[in-house]
């Protein structure tokens, strides 16, 4: 269990699970994601209950433009791939590849956020504001919570990249990269549901 067995440069295959602290952090993060699932599940439930409640303002069918959303989806799902590549680099102890793939992930995240901001400003100009209807309030809350998670992830991973440049890959930093990868997958999975429930069902349902 002690880190002393692994001299510098001789990290174990899965350095994120080499210490009890690392194991605790990863398990705790899985539990945290369990709680996050309920959080988003509740937001989805609210959205589904209110999505057709549009006494004024545009409806989902009039509003959504699937091509922009498809592009967002493509970008975010690709970023999930790059975060897997980062975790694989972590397991091969390739610090530069790890940091590089993390940086690509951040760039994809930023592109996604840019598209989302563009999308929201479009909606507001079409009269779909936070206060226009129950549909709009629940839409902005659900999609905005997801966007907020992406923003937090982008900032978090950026800071982790800086930390990785300074501290290198150790049994202390490895769990941080690993759980950031878990987090990123989670927000991608949430987006898959948003794409389906909010956009596809909004267009055809």
């Amino acid at each position: 269990m002690s880190t002393a067995h692994h001299a510098a440069g001789a990290l174990p295959h899965e350095p994120e699970k080499a210490t009890l602290e690392g194991k605790n952090k990863i398990l705790g993060f899985w539990f945290f994601l369990g709680g996050e699932t309920v959080l988003f599940g509740t937001l989805f439930a609210t959205f589904i209950a209110l999505r057709n409640q549009v006494p004024e303002g545009p409806t989902a069918q009039e509003l959504f433009n699937l091509s922009t959303v498809a592009l967002s989806t493509f970008i975010l799902l690709t970023s999930s791939l790059t975060s897997v590549l980062a975790t694989m680099a972590l397991h091969r102890h390739k610090l530069n590849a790890l940091l590089g793939w993390m940086a690509v992930t951040v760039l994809f995240g930023l592109a996604f956020l840019g598209l989302e901001i563009y999308e929201f400003t479009e909606y507001v100009s079409e009269g779909h504001t936070f206060t226009s209807s129950a549909f709009s309030t629940s839409f902005y809350t659900l999609v905005g919570f997801h966007g907020g998670h992406v923003l937090f992830g982008v900032i978090w991973i950026t800071l982790l990249i800086l930390q990785g440049m300074k501290k290198g890959l150790t049994v202390v930093t490895a769990p941080k990269f690993y759980v950031a990868g878990l987090y990123w997958h989670f927000i991608d999975v949430v987006w898959v549901f948003i794409f389906t429930v909010v956009y596809l069902m909004g267009k055809v349902g």
Binding site: L20, K23, N24, L27, G28, F31, F32, G34, G35, E36, V38, L39, T42, L43, A45, T46, A49, L50, Q53, V54, P55, E56, F130, T131, S132, S133, A134, F135, S136, T137, S138, T141, L159, L160, Q163, V172, K176
Partner: protein
Amino acid sequence: MAHAHVKRYSGIMDWLTTVDHKKIAILYFTAGGFFFLLGGLEALLIRLQLMYPDQHLFVGDTYNQILTMHGTTMIFLAAMPLLFGFMNAVVPLQIGARDVAFPFVNSLGFWLFFAGGVLMNTSWFLGGAPDAGWTGYAPLSTDAYTGRGTDFYVLGLQIAGIGTLIGGINFLVTIVNMRAPGMTFMRMPLFTWTSFITSTIILFAFPAITVGLVELMFDRIFNGNFFEVSKGGNVVLWQHLFWIFGHPEVYILILPAFGIISEVVSTFSKKRLFGYSSMVFATILIGFLSFMVWAHHMFTVGMGPVANAIFGIATMTIAVPTGVKIFNWLFTLWGGQIRFTTANLWAIGFIPTFVIGGMTGVMLAVPPADYQYHDSYFVIAHFHYVIVGGLIFSVFAGLYYWWPKMFGRLLNEGLGKLHFWTFFIGFHLCFFPQHFLGLMGMPRRYFTFMPGEGLDEGNFLSTIGALLMGVGTIVLLVNIVATSVKKPHAAADPWDARTLEWSIPSPAPEYNFKQTPLVRGLDAFWKEKMAGNKEMTPAEPLGPIHMPSPSILPFIMSIGLFIAGYGFMYRTFVVSIIGIGITLICMLLRSVFDDHGFHIEVEELQDKGAKA
């Protein structure tokens, strides 16, 4: 050496920076105890107003504030932290761990709860407390009908709720990853098991109230439309969100109480707990069913007969695992060498009291009958029987039982018995008549009633009972003060008990176990004692013990959110941004600066070993 530059604080800074689960437990007990007294005072004010018909002590709005704060305080700021106090004080010791999985997060959980509780209670001085009931039903809780008080409710609960959630995650990981060698899941003491299931329920229930409170906050502060019917919102949505959290919440409260009763009954019967594995599975089943029954709070909303029938039947099934538990306690007592210590009196008093509360629960689960009981004093009587008679009785049992392990002193048994009898009699005098008041038609939450309608005697008796409970609580306080001025005298194992926490000195040393114990069966310590051993067999040689460093960051992070809360309430979002910024910067600092902790060296351990 890493430990050389770790600062060790003393006095108040020690308490603000501690990451030791045993000290955090004391913080939880102090803060939870304070809020318990506050909530109790509010209860007495309610009962004084209802002592006679047509009273004018607290009328209308003031009464609404008192009753809302009584409910909210007791559930979120008294019952929850008291249970977290026990979980902190006992769970790591019961599984043979040196600490919890995340000591820093543990401290943060406490300070967030405390910040939320203080924030909510400052409302008394800032224009009035929340007054929409502890359930905060929309549309009453929207800004069209209630003022800033409800903002305090929303933000206070939000901050405290985050603290509870991370506390739950901490205990889940602690119990999964930190058990001593040989401590398999099916050898864990029942209090640890119930804490584990309670933490699971916390994990899956609290995010629902988080979302509910966010929605209410968005409606109130940013003019959202979740509960704004004219814009397509839906007020019943709040009820669903509140109760899909709220019903699991009552099991969050009662399961650790079941755990305490199991420990106390088994120790003071000098018997292994009857039906240990059925107890474990009953606990898991209750945890599962707790998510399946929320709509029984909403029978009269108009969900229709099918939904009402399904939720009614689901609710009744909870009586099965609960009944299993009741019988297991009785069979544990059966034929045991029962010692009527104060702790055991509370446990034995708990059993029939909780059964009464459980039976009225099954009555309420019948939808057509519930149309009669709904929003009447029958409901008040029911949930006070399960929460006071269930939870608070077991908190008292646990206090008398584990006090020596926490403080190294035994509470006075004479005063303890006086506490028990006054509180026990007062409790039944207070709440038993309320069943009949409810059946005679007295609605809950009304600030008065008229004379000559058959409600006078019941209400008068109820108030006398409440005063008697107040006397009992004062006796407990006297007992605590009288005990704390004495020298520490408790033996390591004063009750001849069964589980691991009694194998180490009282109070437990900072590092808990000098050597991690090897667990060889259920009731690990008892097994060793029966094998003729005085202490546990160690699972490791004596070596330096690594400890986490104290940190002020959790306290500052909580202050950050506290400040942000005021920013939202007074609609000055700059202040909110500053507050949240403080919290985020603390998170950054925590991430950037590694905590190397420090070591307690072998020589130091041997000194202490000789002293103990």
